[in-house]
Symmetry: C3
């Protein structure tokens, strides 16, 4: 692809020939002379001297260094530019979904499909479901009774959308995701568990992305809510009646227990867990593998992870952890004794 | 729905008019004048004064307060009553599965379907499988060779039941669950892993509920066993030859490693992990995100979680954790020195 | 099955009659007189005296004890022998997949199926996909556009292989696994997340096994790579551009974040997490539920887990953990004061 076409589409100041062609996007260290690359993090600036990339996307601050070595595109935010470049690239190299309903799909007569909808082979769309204009329903998806899928939303192969659940526009849902399974609710009774039927649904806003095999349970009485712009990675568990605020993002394997409310613009590291009935303020950031056991009313960065060590050293320290309260008592006693002595 | 009908079905003492109608179940704080609500936890008693619910389900102890504000249903266990109300509600508002085999399902000629079985579109039922009376097999389910599904059991869309596996009666299995994949067993040999074929199956009792994308592996030689009444949330891993005792319950993301035996009436918090070859007594309760590394022979509540803190404070404390054994030595030395001084 | 046939196939020295028949493989303690069992771990040697097994697979060191009690097969590595026995057994008791394409499968005309390929009911094989000789594609699998499946590879029911992804020969992939969903990549922009299209794929070597509901994401620019002989258990998350070295193995619920490179012959315990952009040397072993937050350049065994305790004791110790840095300061002050006194 020509650099000239790229800049015509995505903007930026091109230093070098618009006729130069590139055939791949690559990182600075992996790039060869057919590649375009980018410098987003100033700490990799030295790689500008060593990369073989034909063209590098850079910030104005390194414009001169970049120009000295070859073609460059100068833009205020190279990482954002790179993101848009990947989108442009994907549109060019990937075939668009054909706007047809595969004859092997099972679409109920009462389902309503908008203009330009694509339904893959062996997908099932149940009674009363509504699929918005231009949406793509992958092979083997199940869109439950009365569910609604927003315009331009794409379900990869094998996604389950439960009955009555609602997805906004331009969402992306990856394979194996389950939206709208029952929340986990039981009343204990004489040593058994009496099921609490989950009468709510799941409501997902616009521009939400949901990873492979992630589960978002339906609410017990009211809905589980994922606000617009939220990004969830793979294998995440969102329990009933959770609410996740706009533009928050969670890495893989996270668990959020029932009725917890998470603010806007939060991030949650992989495998972190947030117990139920908490509130997290906007712009709270949780580290990987951390367990959140209380509400967090202030923006900030929170962590709780046992530090890694060699197994032998861990064994010694972990044994002491189990006696920590006693250790503190001993220290206190010693402080007292010493003070008396003085 | 009429309060009179509700009490006729579910019991309890109705204070107020049987002709009052309700159109929704809601929590005390979310209820409006068309709602029925419940007070299960005495600590929310103050909400009785502020709720707009048309009717409140209460325990005898608060009968007078409840009656003073409007209609009420008095019952010894309001939470249990609420659970049964949700069940009654779901039966009324949700269409029952039609007892037909969808023409798009692939049912082997040698499979045996009981009376009133419903098989959804594109489900696959393999040779020799037996499906009990009134069971519901959702769209896209796969019931493997010689598997047996008990009467009244419901598989949501896209459940996999492996060959030879057995499910009891009245089970509920949610989308994406995989029952009977191979257990993870290999013999190391010259730096490679030699597969141990998993020759057992999975045996699940009556009234078990299994969450979305949860995996229960088949046993290596004998079966993996889930006893009756067990409730498993989403994204749980149950390894080969585990046994989970009656009426135990596990929250999402839990992992139980191979051959571990868990007692009856246990609860395991979300994302907790239990290593292999352990035994947990009846009525053991494990906290969220805790790692169980030894057998627990006594009922009780067990925990092991690094406490949450701001990242800055965590960093300081975590650094000290890594020197804890040395810290203890220093304290011991100081104690010795001080004792000598005295 | 006759012991003589078994030894003819798998080798080893048979002590006892080749005509003795067995009908099951069982552990020493579960075996009855129709069973064959094995003694791999010397610590269970006492069970040789009590087992009712008809035949026991043993190492030369216990040949005499074994012979004294009945039939035995003597072999240098009984556990390896047991593994191969399970394979032999499975081949005999499980029907081989029939090399046919089920008429209910949807196979694109441009897909290429090798000789002896089996495609289950309702599987979808998209345009340009290539399936190697003797491969088994289970019911409800989706093999994406231009994906390649190696010879002899077996996909269980309901596996998703994304477009352009490559699997080697003799792989086994269990139900619900998702190979080639998008990696989790976004550029922050004005409080929103701009998607970075994932332009790489997934490349999996020969003899890899992938557990149920495990996810391996496609790379951002280059491929995510799983080298030959790797074994992954269920519900594992492998993020974009991870590389896992030959013959490494990971237990269930593990998460590996983006661009991390793991060496050969490593093992990772269940629910462990490895953050992104790290390097782990060959033969690194990570304990269950440990979080790896730095590169590990030396082979060895690493751990970081909060030790389990009763909840009451944990509460006391955890409170002290949160004041550990201060505790250290107090100790230091006391040491100073005491030294001065002396």
């Amino acid at each position: 692809m020509r650099l000239g076409d790229l800049v015509a589409e995505l903007g930026g100041e091109l230093l070098g020939s618009p006729d130069q062609t590139i055939r791949q996007i690559a990182s600075l260290d992996a790039a060869d002379s057919g590649c375009i690359s980018f410098l987003a993090n100033p700490k990799y600036k030295a790689q500008l001297q060593t990369t073989r990339a034909a063209c590098v996307i850079v910030a104005p601050a390194v414009k001169d260094e970049a120009a000295a070595r070859g073609a460059a595109i100068v833009t205020p935010d190279p990482y954002l530019y790179f993101a848009r470049l990947t989108q442009w690239w994907a549109r060019r190299v990937r075939p668009a979904a054909t706007a047809v309903v595969h004859p092997g799909a099972v679409v109920d007569a009462s389902a309503v499909l908008g203009a330009g909808v694509s339904v893959g082979p062996l997908a099932v769309i149940e009674a009363g479901a509504v699929v918005g204009e231009g949406a793509v329903i992958g092979p083997h998806c199940v869109v439950g009774r009365n569910a609604r899928i927003g315009a331009g939303t794409r379900l990869s192969a094998r996604v389950t959308i439960g009955f009555d659940c609602v997805l906004g526009a331009r969402c992306i849902v990856h394979s194996g995701a389950v939206i709208g399974a029952d929340g986990f609710g039981f009343a204990p009774h004489q040593g058994r568990w009496e099921k609490i039927e989950q009468l709510g649904a799941v409501h997902i806003g616009d521009d939400v992305e949901i990873g492979a095999n992630t589960c978002i349970d339906r609410g017990a009485l009211s809905d589980t809510v994922i606000e617009q712009g939220v990004k969830l990675d793979n294998l995440i568990q969102i329990a009933h009646n959770v609410r996740i605020g706009e533009h928050s993002a969670m890495a893989a394997n996270v668990g959020v227990a029932g009725s917890t409310v998470i603010g806007k613009h939060c991030t949650v590291g992989g495998a972190a867990n947030i117990i139920g009935h908490l509130e997290l303020a906007d712009r709270v950031h949780i580290s990987v593998a951390t367990t959140v056991t209380r509400s967090l009313n202030q923006a900030g960065h929170y962590t709780g992870v046992f530090p890694l060590d060699t197994h032998a050293d861990w064994e010694k320290n972990a044994a002491t952890v189990k006696n920590l309260a006693k250790l503190r008592e001993r220290l206190r006693a010693l402080e007292k004794a010493c003070n008396k002595n003085e």
